[in-house]
Symmetry: C2
Subunit: 366 residues, 2 copies
């Protein structure tokens, strides 16, 4: 099977670029003296998670319990679930997950939830590893740094069935700050209260083994933080337009990692001299970014969304007008929600399709 | 199983509202003396397609071959595939589909494609029903109305293996025009060249059995067109915020069909007095519309997207602050791409979960 045999629209992963991305993150993290647990919400694909762990990652972070269930079922260990588990039904599922993957960690940001988790684990004779989730300014989940976090740590300490492992703080609002210097300033400022909280815990006699955080945008920034022990960057393995455009330490584009992910589409209509239509629309790419997919090494056209199932190519160079049936690849604006639209990813090396990996945790936001 | 037992985020269909929507469209179309073949790209769910046909639809329209394969495999007949089939691999799949569902129709907008289809069918001794796809101003696929369409019809006539059934014109750019009067003017103007083309065909001795078009927004407008034979409105069966807001014949909201589709989510964090977080973000709702999901009968909060997996509730009434673990339902902005994020839909009647239907054609944009 070659690249040209894949039914479109389809998701493609360039194996060479992907492997180089894995090696670069490993080398970067090792050189910085840190660990990493990449976020699997990017890819939801156990085959990718396994390769990240083989390359040196401690495990993977999972956005949701459902994602972790799939990863654990596929044999991936070292899981950290980064959304709070608050309902009795979810705790019941967590107990089953722990039977399979006992080293799974969860985050907490609420004392009632700490008590509920503690009782649920104690009733089954289990011990659960927990991290205190800190709001470092992203205004999503997380306890406030400082005393509120310390109170939560003490609440955890009252439950023998809970083992406090450390702190987590994800500065999502800093991940895409344009320009490396501005991003560095934003991220170090956002992460400072997390580091202060670490010191507060330790001064209060509470050991802190793990402090986790960081995005692909801040992978070479957050490692400056002495108190950070592990990076959670996820998108680095595949990359997307949104991360490329924020700029890197040494240039206007972030090029530390290569653009390994594309969507391939087919020209299904060439109705006028200035326009061609492809079979990839807003069910083929996520639409959460304010810029469109970009044709890969295909000059003469620009892409615009034209409904659920169509993309409109505006022909800017008539001498390069698309032909009926032509295949065109595109870089997606945002990798995570684009991958989440597909059941599988075609692994290509040059023209050859080397493998097809199931995106087994696709849709598992539960 | 009750509504409160469903793992979140999840897609819910209110059975009573859905059934009333099916009955209303049937009654509307019958009263107008037309037929209908609802677009299944809305729901990608064979169980819904079956109920539409049981209610009186001729079959369903499918955006893509992949969608049609799933529908045919589930026993649904009367399929019309509304995206051109242009590659040899897709024609091979079409041949297999026709063996199962020989009454399947396809659209064409290009003479080369007509010849390729004609030869492919002839080589296998098959006859394929085709419709001429007309661009009625949406600037997607479709031949220009008038003479170019007539030339295409004549090209079809040169192939014994192709049987011209009629014309299709989808005025997607008129579907969401705000205000019924303005929408009526826009749609009738857009559809006029389609009606002219019908007359041109007939004056040229080419019989036209079917003229198909129309959206949920124009369901009570396009039936005014004498030359139109069948409506393709799809969203009517479930509805969404985008269609509700465009207004109806008699009011500021489109209320001919009821809001039957919701996404249910759980409050996973109540970190501050002014904010709560739910477990439904941009992997739980499509983001292609410029307005957010709306809480259903839950005052005191507004929803904002906060990443892949989180929605941020801003608490506007502190006396109604969400509780940890509380379930909240939301109307999605756009039904089609939201449904396409889920593998199944929970059918609820009051508090009871009556059934779970597979969205078997989810992701089948190929």
């Amino acid at each position: 099977m070659t690249r040209d045999d894949i039914p479109t629209p389809a998701l493609l992963l360039d194996a060479d670029r992907f492997e180089r991305n894995l090696a670069r993150m490993r080398d970067h993290v090792r050189a910085a003296g840190k660990n990493y647990r990449p976020h699997a919400k990017t890819h939801r694909c156990p085959e990718i998670a396994r390769r990240q762990v083989e390359a040196g990652a401690l495990g993977v972070a999972c956005a949701k319990l459902g994602e972790a269930e799939v990863m654990a079922g596929a044999g991936v260990r070292g899981l950290l679930i980064t959304t709070e588990i608050v309902t009795p039904a979810a705790m019941f599922r967590l107990v089953r997950l722990l039977e399979r993957a006992p080293d799974t960690m969860v985050v907490v940001d609420n004392p009632e939830n700490v008590d509920a988790l503690g009782r649920a684990m104690s009733a089954r004779g289990l011990t659960l590893d927990v991290m205190v989730d800190i709001d470092v300014g992203g205004r999503r989940t997380g306890a406030q740094p400082g005393d509120p976090a310390l109170a939560l740590a003490r609440a955890i300490g009252e439950h023998k069935s809970l083992r406090l492992r450390g702190l987590q703080g994800y500065a999502g609002h800093c991940a895409h700050v344009m320009g490396w210097a501005a991003r560095r300033e934003a991220s170090l400022r956002a992460m400072a209260p997390l580091m202060d909280t670490r010191r507060l815990f330790e001064a209060s006699g509470i050991p802190v083994e793990i402090v986790a955080g960081g995005s692909t945008g801040t992978h070479d920034i957050d490692v400056e933080l002495d108190g950070l022990t592990e990076l959670q960057s996820g998108s680095y393995c595949v990359m997307d337009l949104d991360y490329r455009r924020i700029g890197g330490r040494n240039g206007e584009l972030l090029t530390d990692f290569e653009m390994a992910l594309t969507v391939t589409a087919t020209v299904v209509s060439v109705p006028t001299a200035d326009r061609a239509m492809v079979d990839a629309g807003l069910k083929a790419f996520s639409t959460d970014k304010p810029f469109p997919p970009e044709p890969v090494e295909r000059p003469g056209i620009t892409y615009g969304f034209a409904g659920d199932e169509h993309g409109r190519l505006t022909i800017t160079d008539p001498s390069r007008a698309p032909k009926l049936g032509e295949r065109i690849e595109f870089f997606p604006p945002h990798c995570d929600p684009t991958i989440n639209l597909y059941d599988r990813i075609y692994i290509v090396r040059g023209q050859a399709v080397e493998s097809v990996w199931e995106i087994s945790a696709r849709g598992r936001s539960d």
